[in-house]
Amino acid sequence: MFKSFYHILVTKPVMCLVADKKKEVKGKISFICIKVVSFSMSNSNSQNHHKVVSEWVNEYTDSLFQYTVKRVSDINLAKDLVQDAFIAAYQSYHKFENRSNPKTWLTSILKNKIMDHFRQVYRRNETFIEGNSTDFNEDGSWKIENIPSTWETEHLLDNPNFIKAFDSCIDELPERWSSSIRIKYLKEETDLDQLGISKANYWKMLERARTQLRKCLTTKWFSVN
C-alpha cells in the first residue's frame, strides 16, 4: 500500500497536495509528500517556462525571421540569429517581466544578436579601402579597358535570370562591403560607431561595393546576354 501511494505522489503532484493534509495523521507519508511537492513545484515552473517560450517560438518565429532576413539577407544566418535569440530569451526568462510585450522583448534581444553579427564582420581584418582611381588615367579620363560598355536594360528587372546573376554578384562581394549595403537599407538608423566603423570608411565600402557590382554584372550578364 505504501509503495503504490508513493508512486501516485511522484507521478501526480495533485495527489501529493491532498496527501499533504494528512501530515498530522501520518508522519512518514507527509515527509515523502513534502519532498515531492517541492520537487514537482520547481519542475512545473520550468515546464511552464518551457511552454511559454515554445509558444513564442510558434507565434513569433515568422515575423522575427522576416525582420532578420531583411537585415542580413541570408536565410541560414537569419535562422541562426533567431534561434540564438530564443535561446537567450529562454535562459534569461527570469528577466522577462510580464509588463512588456513578449514580441518587443524578443525583438530587442534579436537586435543585439544582429548587431553582434555585424560587429564581428567588421572586426575581422580591417584594411585600407582604395578608391576607384585605378579605372582612370592620370589625367582623369577613363582607361580604355574600363570604359563602361552599353547595357541592354529593357525588361531587365522582370528577368529572373538577371536577378540570379545579380544575387551571385552580391555574394561575391567581400562580406564587409555587402554588409555595408545591407546596413544602408535597414529601416532604422544604425549607429556606425557601435559597429566600430568610421563613416568615411563606410562610404568608401559602399562606393567599392557599387563599383564592383557594376563590373561583375558587366562580365556575368551584359557581355554574355
Partner: protein, 78 residues
C-alpha cells in the same frame, strides 16, 4: 570642366550622400557632354535600383520545421 574620374566619384557619392549644389551642376554639365560618364551614371543608378528592390523584398520561407528544431533545442537546454 571636371574630369571623368571626378564625375564618376560624384555619381557614386550621390547614391549615398546629397551632393552640394555646385557638385550637382558640375556633374550635370559633364554627363551632358560625356556619353561614357552618362552610361556610367545610368548603370550605377540601375545597380542601386536593383539593390533596393532585392534587399527590401521579403522572401517567403517555410519555417515549420525550423520552429520544431528551435523548440527541441530549448528542451535540450534543461
Amino acid at each position: 570642366m571636371i574630369s571623368c574620374k571626378r564625375s564618376a566619384a560624384l555619381v557614386l557619392k550621390s547614391q549615398d550622400l546629397p551632393l552640394r549644389r555646385k557638385e550637382k551642376i558640375q556633374l550635370k554639365l559633364h554627363t551632358k557632354m560625356c556619353a561614357v560618364c552618362k552610361t556610367f551614371e545610368q548603370q550605377t543608378n540601375l545597380v542601386e535600383e536593383v539593390l533596393k528592390q532585392r534587399l527590401s523584398t521579403e522572401k517567403p520561407e517555410d519555417l515549420s520545421t525550423f520552429k520544431i528544431e528551435t523548440i527541441t533545442k530549448l528542451s535540450e537546454l534543461n
